[in-house]
């Protein structure tokens, strides 16, 4: 078996390596195409993300224009009522104000949650 192993080892070593018949050039072209398509893919991705960002911004801007003053007014009113309730001590009116504040805070929490969710989705898409 040792002789056979030596013969096999020698025979393996004697197998000729093929000459370069354009193989290396073919690989170089394949690599170049691959890199070019990767660059193109990255650019398309960046463009798509820019468009998505603009669309979100446009939507948020339109929403803020329509609802912004109302939200700000409501928020200011809630703060003023809360301040008044704290300053004047607990009362039946104060409880009503606290309930009202709770409802307002729910809306604020929903908006904050939506923004955080959107941000998380954006990061996940960017990383993926």
């Amino acid at each position: 078996m040792t002789e056979l192993n030596a013969l096999l080892k020698r025979s393996f070593a004697e197998i000729e390596e093929p000459a370069d018949d354009g193989f290396a050039v073919k690989i170089s072209h394949a690599v170049a195409r691959r890199e070019a398509s990767a660059v193109l893919r990255n650019r398309v991705y960046a463009g798509a993300m820019l468009l998505a960002g603009l669309a979100v911004f446009y939507g948020a801007y339109a929403l803020a224009q329509a609802l912004g003053p109302q939200i700000l007014a409501m928020f200011g009113l809630e703060i003023a009522q809360a301040y008044g309730a704290i300053a004047s001590g607990p009362s039946a009116t104060g409880q009503g104000i606290l309930q009202s504040l709770g409802a307002g805070m729910t809306q604020l929490l929903l908006i904050t949650g939506a923004l955080a969710g959107g941000l998380a989705t954006f990061r996940a898409v960017r990383q993926g």
């Binding site: 056979l4 025979s11 290396a24 690599v31 890199e35």
Partner: protein, 185 residues
């Protein structure tokens, strides 16, 4: 003469080319392929039964190597690292063909060497490529890695993911088949 910046590619050491290729230098990788293509294609030709398939797999392996260059820890590890990629590429191709464990049932006929070297005249040499083509894919792979690449059974297990008993069996049976072909020649 290929030249890139201050780096003369055709005269650069392989380690230099590998480091440059890791920095995504396509020309350096091209020169590396030019130097290593013979070795890589010969390795895959030993594993495959036909040259066209081997060359396709070698191309696939080099492109995988380009994609994974950053994973190579040291330039000195390139041959072993590339061999692993080549073996994985071969195994994946065979799994796609569902052919890795197929055996050849036909009677083994003698494989004589048609060259007129003194060794051949003395019957001490076989046409190994022809003989290897008669083995099953798994036997050919294990025999090539064991006798051709000098890997131990454990290293073959680690590289291919095949069980140790299977590797030992393939090496033993493949070597025995080659011995029978040699004796019959």
């Amino acid at each position: 003469m290929a030249q890139r910046g201050n780096l003369n590619l055709s005269e650069a050491a392989e380690a230099t080319l590998i480091v440059a290729a890791q920095a995504r230098d396509q020309a350096a990788f091209g020169e590396l392929v030019r130097r290593r293509q013979g070795w890589a294609r010969a390795l895959l030709r030993k594993m495959c039964s036909n040259h066209a398939e081997a060359d396709d797999l070698a191309q696939e392996a080099f492109i995988k190597a380009w994609d994974k260059m950053a994973d190579l820890e040291t330039p000195a590890a390139f041959p072993g690292w590339f061999r692993r990629i080549a073996v994985t590429t071969f195994l994946m191709a065979k799994r796609r063909q569902k052919a890795v464990f197929e055996e050849i049932d036909e009677e083994l006929s003698p494989i004589a060497d048609d060259t007129s070297t003194p060794e051949a005249q003395a019957g001490a040499k076989i046409d190994l490529e022809k003989a290897l083509a008669r083995l099953s894919d798994a036997e050919r792979l294990c025999v090539t890695l064991n006798h051709g690449e000098g890997l131990s059974h454990g290293e073959i297990v680690e590289m291919t993911g095949l069980p140790l008993g299977t590797v030992k069996s393939h090496v033993l049976r493949g070597t025995e088949k080659l011995r029978r072909m040699l004796e019959a020649a």
